[in-house]
């Protein structure tokens, strides 16, 4: 597929929206069935095994190494200074390991071959309406250093396609491929590469047209003018695109969310992205309280209960609850430090703490203003309130001084 043809395909899917995007509409109407079809097709791609090794355009060469170290600013003499290299552990000039992928980049007009698993996975998900892409992870292992004159070839296999996942960018599937670089029969480097293929959300804000964007974030990016991202994806089969970095601006991308706001820039976008709680008759008092700056605990007679439920622990269907307002002080009962994946509205890493309140119940919330390394069980904290918008305030914690 040429880059131009690919672009045209993606444009139609994105700019015409759901009305003309049959695959996407189908996916929405029968999500389980569409998901199964993607999983089955993914298994076929995986079972097809590695693609035929594709040789790099050029052998490992000094000119490209020189360009690379000049641009990156890497002054390590083993790459460019023959004398220093001879005296080093290498005994001769070597290429920077991080250039492994560079040798087999397909260049300005490159096209992935039809058996390339990333191309097949991209086409599969494009057809299902997941037309945009961001790269999320790259893990490269170098078995040995390459020397000028060696000629590498790359072969890729699909590890898996996992989804559908709800992410900050829209619903999507994570595609993981594994690439091995060979010199002859010898594997010299390997890479696990993960991208998110996602369905761009429909425009939420007014005054911004999605018509011109065919990848990346749409609504949220437009509302703040901040973010952005990625593009790239649409050209995924053409090689370079799959190496795009991206992210959706300030609030990252991610796989799930506890829903919360980090504050600062992009607030409106974050509020729009936060995963909102399901407010029911049983817990409405709790969310109402947070809006008013109160941490409310459900009470059934003498018994406190959190999270609130529809009946007391003894199952008495005739009982009616009320609530008490917590003092807001407690200690960390358990916690985790969230490093990955990114969560809408969060700076990573952040701390999620289960706090045992002085009243005896335990409550979850983000713990702010503390170095994750300093958090420990038993740490004294007090309540704070993360106001997201007029409707929603989330419980949070800060260290008690």
């Amino acid at each position: 597929m040429s880059a131009a043809a690919d672009r045209a395909t993606t444009d139609s899917a994105t700019t015409d929206g759901a009305a003309t995007d049959g695959a996407a509409a189908d996916g929405r109407g029968d999500p389980a069935g569409a998901g199964r079809r993607i999983e089955e097709a993914a298994r076929e791609i995986t079972e097809a095994g590695p693609s035929a090794p594709e040789p790099a355009r050029d052998p490992v060469n000094q000119a490209m190494i020189n360009n690379w170290v000049e641009a990156i600013g890497d002054a390590n003499p083993v790459y460019t200074d023959a004398e220093a290299a001879a005296a080093s552990v290498h005994g001769e000039l070597v290429a920077p390991p991080a250039m492994a992928q560079v040798w087999t980049m397909r260049g300005l007009y490159g096209v992935r071959p039809p058996d390339d698993p990333l191309r097949r996975a991209t086409e599969l998900l494009d057809e299902a309406g997941y037309t945009s892409v961001v790269a999320t992870d790259s893990a490269q292992t170098y078995h040995r250093y390459l020397r000028p004159g060696e000629h590498v070839a790359a072969s890729s296999v699909l590890e898996n396609i996992v989804g559908p996942k709800r992410t900050a960018l829209g619903e999507g599937w994570f595609v993981t491929t594994r690439t091995t670089w060979y010199v002859g029969d010898e594997a010299v480097a390997e890479m696990t590469f993960r991208i998110l293929k996602f369905r761009p959300p429909e425009q939420q804000a007014t005054g911004h047209s999605t018509g011109t964007t065919n990848a990346g974030t749409t609504g949220e990016a437009g509302t703040t003018g901040e973010a952005g991202t990625t593009a790239g994806g649409r050209d995924a089969p053409s090689g370079a695109a799959t190496t795009d970095t991206a992210g959706s601006g300030d609030d990252g991308r991610g796989d799930s969310g506890t829903g919360d706001s980090g504050g600062g820039e992009g607030r409106a976008a974050e509020a729009a992205q936060v995963l909102r709680p399901v407010v029911t008759r049983d817990n409405a008092f709790f969310w109402d309280g947070l809006r008013e700056g109160e941490l409310r605990i459900q009470r059934w007679g003498e018994t406190l209960r959190h999270p609130p439920g529809p009946m007391p622990p003894d199952g008495d269907l005739n009982a009616e609850p009320d609530y008490v307002v917590a003092a807001g002080t407690g200690t960390v009962y358990s916690f985790l430090v969230h490093h990955h994946p990114p969560v809408p509205g969060k700076r990573l890493p952040f701390v999620l703490a289960l706090v045992e309140l002085d009243e005896g119940v335990r409550m979850l919330g983000e713990l702010h203003g503390v170095d994750p390394a300093d958090v420990h069980i038993g740490l004294a904290v007090e309540a704070s309130f993360d106001r997201i918008d007029d409707e929603l305030t989330l419980p949070a914690w800060r260290v008690r001084s």
Partner: protein, 129 residues
């Protein structure tokens, strides 16, 4: 050099000029327009052109070998992307030694820009005897 767990690497700050974004994209043979054509990047919803992932891998490697020296062997670079790094920003790498097992040293690296964490990485190196 004595390497122990917790040893901090000297920070590295990179001025991410438009020239830097373009030069590194082309040196890594990444011709995506979002790395060299600002109008195209803006049209696609980005604020500006931004760094590509191959450059992140290269910068992380450089950051670690600047500290570890030319005889350190880089065995792996494992990285995760966060917020974009746009032209005009400043990217600062910090890192510390997470694990030492004989000659094998694992370094944790973080690259932050004005939007937050752009990249987090784990680099395994083998240091000279």
């Amino acid at each position: 050099m004595t390497i122990t767990v917790g040893t901090e690497l000297p920070p590295l700050t990179v001025e991410v000029t438009p020239t830097f974004v373009v030069a590194t994209a082309l040196a890594t043979r990444d011709f995506q327009d979002v790395h060299h054509d600002r109008d195209a990047a803006v049209t696609r919803g980005s604020r500006d052109i931004f760094l590509n992932i191959l450059t992140d891998t290269g910068l992380v490697q450089r950051f670690v070998t600047d500290w570890a020296g030319p005889d350190a062997l880089v065995r792996s670079v494992d990285l995760r992307l966060g917020v974009p790094c746009y032209a005009g920003d400043e990217l600062t790498f910090t890192g510390s030694v997470a694990e030492v097992d004989g000659h094998d040293v694992t370094v944790s690296v973080s690259g932050t820009d004005s939007l937050g964490q752009h990249v987090s990485a784990t680099v395994r190196i083998e240091v000279a005897a």
